[in-house]
């Protein structure tokens, strides 16, 4: 129970309620008591003063008459009266008590039926030295006090009881809701990655947490799947060059091989290992870009100028291969980024357009700025890519050509996509009718 946050919260809140009830009770008790006592005092003081007036106008006898008249009308709960002479002997009124000092006092009087009883008395010194006492029984006041205490005592016990029951229920409810998540988490730790937290229909905070957890689990599962795919692809892509490397070295080692042929075998082996190294370089570069650390060094880059330069570097080589490069570039287009990464993206796009199209293809580079976006498109009128294959083009090691007979390691577009990503941009692939259009959409930097 101590370890349960739910129980703790419920117990603390019901304790707080109980304390609040107590404080309220105390406040009601004190203020009601003070008000009633004040009322009692006012009443006896007022009546004392009335009688004093009687004495002034009518004299001692008038006073005695007034007292006698009042005592005749009195019911049991009304006021009691007494007049004491200078020696302290009661000379009028039926109140049985010792002579009190003047002013408001608590006194004890003798009730003929009940015995000694506390009362509140107002004593006035008369001009002739005798004392007039007007007293009220305190019994009704004490009864109200007792009632208030009983009432709030009961309320306190009730609040504690309700709080305790609430604590147990709330605790049980929270444990029930959380246990669904615990069960799922344990299942996932146990290796069942398909488990998801059940989401209730109410859409409360638990349901929202559950959906969030599920979304997180989906993303993790996706990444794991991606990782699994990548590892198996890396293994696959490495096997081929490594096997060729091995065969080449084995051939070179054969006895009686002329020197020049052996040198050739070694050179080929070096070329094969370069292939493997370049695959790793590309993978590391990809993860470096995705780590996003390079963003710290971003500076304004004129993408129009860079594209123009890359276009110039590529145009002639493309022409040599029988393709044509056409550029329609905005005058300037400033983006915040890394010049070399953006150049890498352009290189990969141009290389792709070159490798995956037949001679005679027209390749087009367009760069325009619109609505604070810089839009760069590399399009060709080659064979294009079927729509169902386009989505996976940006995945690592994705190749439309399943036989993997074309050059490249299938990382080109994932690299471009990652570069677009860290520049807060987007890579999209669409149909160029005919051919393929690859578009980079980047935010424009205000100069």
């Amino acid at each position: 129970m101590v370890r349960s946050a739910a129980y703790r919260i419920a117990i603390i809140s019901s304790l707080a309620f109980a304390i609040a009830t107590c404080a309220l009770g105390l406040f009601v008790y004190l203020s009601a008591h003070a008000a009633l006592a004040g009322q009692l005092d006012d009443r006896i003081r007022e009546d004392g003063n009335t009688l004093l007036n009687e004495y002034r106008h009518e004299g001692r006898l008038g006073l005695f008459d007034a007292i006698a008249g009042r005592e005749r009308q009195n019911g049991s709960n009304e006021l009691g009266y007494a007049v004491f002479d200078v020696k302290g002997v009661r000379i009028a009124g039926s109140l049985i008590t010792d002579m009190p000092e003047p002013g408001l006092r608590n006194i004890l009087f003798r009730d003929p039926e009940e015995g000694p009883d506390p009362a509140r008395a107002f004593t006035t010194l008369l001009p002739d030295g005798s004392r007039l006492v007007v007293a009220a029984d305190r019994e009704p006041l004490e009864r109200i006090d007792r009632q208030i205490v009983t009432l709030f005592g009961a309320a306190f016990v009730g609040v504690i009881a309700i709080g305790a029951i609430g604590a147990v229920m709330l605790g049980a409810y929270l444990r029930h809701r959380l246990s669904a998540m615990n069960v799922t988490a344990e299942a996932i730790m146990g290796g069942d990655l398909d488990q998801r937290v059940p989401v209730g229909p109410r859409g409360d905070e638990f349901d929202r947490l559950a959906s969030l957890m599920n979304a997180m689990l989906n993303r993790i599962a996706e990444l794991l799947e991606n990782l699994r795919q990548v590892s198996s692809d890396v293994a696959h892509d490495l096997r081929t060059p490594l096997a060729r490397l091995r065969n080449g070295l084995e051939n070179g080692l054969r006895h009686g091989l002329p020197r020049d042929q052996r040198d050739k075998a070694i050179e080929q082996a070096i070329a094969r290992s370069d292939e493997v190294l370049s695959l790793f370089a590309a993978l590391l570069r990809l993860s470096e870009i995705e780590a996003g650390r390079l963003q710290q060094a971003f500076a304004p880059v004129d993408l129009a100028r860079l594209t123009r330069e890359m276009g110039e570097s590529y145009a002639l080589a493309l022409e040599d291969g029988g393709r044509r490069l056409e550029c329609q570039l905005a005058e300037t287009a400033i983006v915040l980024g890394d010049r070399e990464l953006l150049a890498q993206a352009l290189i990969n796009l141009l290389d792709n357009a070159q490798i995956h199209t037949p001679p005679g293809t027209r390749i087009e580079m367009r760069l325009e700025t619109e609505d604070s976006r810089v839009v760069l498109t590399v399009a060709d009128n080659g064979p294009g890519v079927p729509e169902r294959d386009r989505a996976r083009l940006t995945r690592r090691f994705a190749r439309v050509d399943a036989s993997r007979s074309r050059p490249g390691h299938g990382l080109g577009l994932s690299l471009v996509s990652a570069i677009a990503g860290i520049h807060h941009g987007k890579l999209s692939i669409s149909d160029n009718h005919p051919g393929l259009a690859v578009t980079l959409n980047l935010p424009e930097a205000r100069p």
Partner: protein, 225 residues
Amino acid sequence: MKVLIAEDDRETAEFVRKGLEELGHVGHATANGTDALHYATLEDWDVIVLDRMLPGIDGLSLLRRLRAAGIPTPVILLTALGRIEDRVEGLESGADDYLVKPFAFSELAARLNAVFRRGPAREVTTRLSYGIIEMDLLKREVRCGGKLALLQPREFELLEELLRNAERVMTRTMLLERIWGFHFDPQTNIVETHMSRLRSKLAEAGARDAIETVRGVGYRMRPDN
């Protein structure tokens, strides 16, 4: 050339040392930063090859201390792949060149030659020539035995770089750095295609085989041209 190799991976250090010996240079390997600093300050070296990560004192601090102590020996910094941002830091700390591991020995050798012979800042020159090739940097013209070769700007820069370093081999990555400003290998054949166009244009103008391919290393002007 007398080279200090500060590299904690024995295999790499040995591979570099042997390679240097075969080229007729002297290499001395040390595996930790404290020793490297000691050797670098006590003896005169032509070039220091410095690993970025060293036990004792790391490569960058060592480099800063050398420069602070006024030791101008050229330094080539070695770093593991995947830390591009280190490059800027390395060059700012006073490195003369930068090489990403794993590297081919020929690449290191070419860069060692380049930093060793770099000497004082390039003298202001308006003409470069080698054999029958003459380059006018003001008119941006290239003539081979008087015959004009029409070069594209990048081809011109490529030839200029080769002519300025006529005795040395320029590797593919050095050319990518100096002409295109790429400090990474973009895994493209941009250098090869430009080189092949440059060669055929020079051949057309009469300078056949003026540029030599050094297998597995790079390019240089053919000495017997």
